[in-house]
Symmetry: C2
Subunit: 360 residues, 2 copies
C-alpha cells in the first residue's frame, strides 16, 4: 500500500503553534512542495503562502503560470501580472486572511525588506528553513526510486569515463562521453558540473574540467552525477592513465578502505559525526589526516548538497530514508588527489549503495 502524502499538509503539521502560516520562496522548496518537474532556475520569482488553516496558494508570474496551473499539486495557483509585485500580492493575502506570525524558508535581505515594509504593523516573519528541510531530508518512496534511477545513470556515465580515459584525450572530451552516455540512457541533465580533474589539478577537490590532455601516469578524479526527474545522484572514482605506481595504489587503498568502513557504520540512528570519524580516524592512522580537507559527505535529493551534513561538527543523526554521500578523499599538492564517493540510502539495518561498481 502506498501512502500518498500531500507535502503541503505535511508542512502544516510541522509548524509550531505560534505560527499561523508559512511562506516558501526558495525555488527548490517550491518544486518540492508542488511536485512540479522542472529546473529551479526557470521558476523565477515565485512564492507559496501556506496558511495553517485553509488552502495554500502558489503565486507565479505569467511565463510559468499556465504550466504551474496545469501541473502543480497540493495548492491553487495564482497569476502575478507583470506590473504586480510578488511580495505585495502575497502580503495583501496575509492581511486579508489576518495571519499574524509566519515562518519562512530562505530569503534574501532584499526580499525580506520588501515583505517587512508591506507587512508593517500587520504580521511578523521569522526565519524557519528547518521545517521544509525536515520534510526533504526523509525521502519518500517515489523520491528514492528517482534517485535510484539517477544513480544507475551515473554508473553508466562512470563506465563511459573508464572507457574513454587514455593518453592525449582532453578532460572535456572525457566529460562529453560521460554526459552523452547518461543522457542517451535517460538522464534529464547533470546534477552538477561534471568534474574530470587530472594530473596535479586532481589535488584540488573541486578541480573541475578543462582543456588539459591526459598523460600516462596521471591521476584522474571523476566526480559526476546524473539527474532524473529533478533528483540527483553523486559519484566519484579515481583512475590512473596507463600503469599505476605503488604510491598511487597504496593511497587509493587507504581511501577505499576508509570509504568502506564508513559505509559499514551507516544506519538509522547513528550520529553523522561518528560516521565521519570512522573514515577520518582510519585516514589519520595512515598518515594523511591533513590531506582529508573536507567532510565525509552530504545529503542529496532535489539538490546535490542537502541535509543531513556528514562532518566532524555535524549535530545530525542519520535517519532511515536519508540519502547521503560517503566520499573520503586524500589530496597531495604537486602529486594528485584521490576520492571515492557513493550515493547511499540509509536504512534501519545495513545501508544500500545506489552507485555501485567501478572501484578500479
Amino acid at each position: 500500500m502506498a501512502i500518498l502524502r500531500n507535502r503541503v499538509s505535511a508542512l502544516k503539521n510541522l509548524i509550531e503553534p505560534k505560527f499561523d502560516g508559512y511562506i516558501a520562496t526558495n525555488p527548490v522548496n517550491l518544486l518540492y512542495l508542488t511536485e512540479l518537474l522542472g529546473a529551479a532556475d526557470s521558476l523565477g520569482a515565485a512564492a507559496m503562502l501556506v496558511p495553517k488553516d485553509g488552502e495554500s496558494t502558489l503565486y507565479i508570474y505569467g511565463v510559468n503560470y499556465e504550466w504551474a496551473k496545469a501541473e502543480a499539486k497540493n495548492c491553487t495557483v495564482e497569476l502575478v501580472k507583470g506590473n504586480e509585485e510578488l511580495t505585495k500580492k502575497v502580503s495583501e493575502q496575509i492581511k486579508s486572511q489576518k495571519l499574524k506570525t509566519l515562518g519562512f524558508d530562505t530569503m534574501t535581505v532584499k526580499m525580506n525588506k520588501k515583505f517587512s515594509a508591506a507587512l508593517k504593523g500587520i504580521a511578523k516573519l521569522e526565519d524557519k528553513p528547518e521545517y521544509v528541510w525536515n520534510l526533504r531530508k526523509i525521502k519518500e518512496k517515489g523520491e528514492i526510486e528517482k534517485i535510484r534511477k539517477a544513480a544507475k545513470l551515473t554508473v553508466d556515465g562512470m563506465q563511459a569515463a573508464y572507457d574513454a580515459i587514455r593518453p592525449r584525450i582532453s578532460e572535456y572530451q572525457v566529460a562529453a562521453e560521460i554526459e552523452y552516455a547518461m543522457r542517451k540512457n535517460g538522464s534529464y541533465g547533470v546534477a552538477f558540473e561534471s568534474s574530470v580533474a587530472s594530473g596535479s589539478r586532481s589535488a584540488y577537490p573541486h578541480g573541475g574540467c578543462g582543456e588539459r590532455r591526459l598523460e600516462s601516469g596521471d591521476l584522474v578524479v571523476v566526480d559526476i552525477g546524473a539527474r532524473y526527474k529533478n533528483y540527483c545522484a553523486d559519484m566519484t572514482r579515481t583512475f590512473v592513465v596507463g600503469n599505476s605506481s605503488t604510491r598511487q595504489e597504496k593511497i587509493h587503498d587507504v581511501v577505499k578502505e576508509a570509504q568502506e568502513r564508513a559505509f559499514g557504520g551507516i544506519k538509522d540512528g547513528v550520529r553523522a559525526a561518528d560516521i565521519d570519524a570512522i573514515a577520518r580516524t582510519f585516514i589519520k592512522k595512515a598518515g594523511f589526516e591533513e590531506n582529508f580537507v573536507h567532510g565525509l559527505g552530504h545529503g542529496i535529493g532535489l539538490e546535490v548538497h542537502e541535509r543531513p551534513t556528514l562532518n566532524s561538527l555535524s549535530k545530525d543523526l542519520l535517519r532511515k530514508g536519508n540519502v547521503i554521500t560517503d566520499e573520503p578523499g586524500i589530496y597531495i599538492l604537486n602529486f594528485g588527489g584521490f576520492r571515492i564517493e557513493d550515493t547511499v540510502l540509509v536504512k534501519e539495518g545495513k545501508a544500500e549503495r545506489l552507485t555501485r561498481g567501478l572501484y578500479v
Copy 2:
C-alpha cells in the same frame, strides 16, 4: 593595447564615499572578482572583504583553499578552518581594520543575522548589490570572447538538434545529441538545463525536456546554451517535425519579424523598455498580445539571467558592452509555442548577433 583591469580595484572605485568597505558573498560575484574558473555551486560558503583602502581578502574553507590560493586574482586568500565560522572571521577583520560602514552584495536573512550579531556596535552593513552588477553588466573584451565562443558552441548544439529531430525520437534523446555536440567541440557544460519542449508542452515557455516522443507535425521549441570558461550563451529555435502547417508558418513569421525588428533597434543608449516595445507592438498588431507572456530578454554572462532586463517595466538603458538576449515568443494553449532567441552584443552602432543561423 589591452587594458588589464583589476576588478576589485574597479569595485573600490564605484563604492560611494559613505562606505569604507564592501563584503561580497554571492558565489558568482566571487568568481567574477577573483577571476576563478569553476562552478559557483562548488564554491560553498566564502566571502571577500574589500576595504576601501588596502588589500582585499577572500575567506574560503579548506576544500577550496589550495585551489583559490593558487588561482585567485586581485586578492589574498585566507583559510577558514572547519571549526571556524566564516562570518565571525570576516567580522574580526572588519573590527581590527576599524571599518564602520560596509556595503554588501546579496545575503540571506540568516547570514545577515550572523554578521549583525558579530558586528553589533562595531559596524553597519547595507544592501548594495548594484555595485557589482554595474561592473558585471559591461563585459570586458576577454569576457566577450568567452561568450562568443559559448555562442558558437551553442549554434553547434542547435545544428545537432536540427539533425536529430524526427518522428519517434524522444525529447531527451534530442538533448543528448545537442549536449554531446557542444561538449565535444569544447563546451565546459550547459549554461542551463536544455529545453526540448514538443507538442502541446511547447506552449509552456519553460516546457523543459522529458520522455515524450516527437510526432509528425509537432512544434519543438529548443532552448539551449553552452558554457565556455564560466560564460553562458542562450539560443532558441522553433522547429516543426516533418511538414509545417500554414498556421504554424504564419505565427513563426510573426515571431521572426518581431525578433528582427527588436534586433534592429538595439544599440548603445536606447531604453531596454523601448526595445521590448518594438517586438511587443508588432506581436500585438498581429493579434497575439496575450500570447507573449514574458519580457523580450535579459542580460547574460557568468549567469544566464543577468542585468540589464528587457521588459516593459525595465528602467535600464542598453550600453555598449552589454550582452543580452532578444527572444520574443507566442504561446497558444493546446496548440503550441514559438520562440526565437539570439544572444546579442550591444555596440555603439548596429548590434552583433553572437548566435547566428538556423532560422528554420
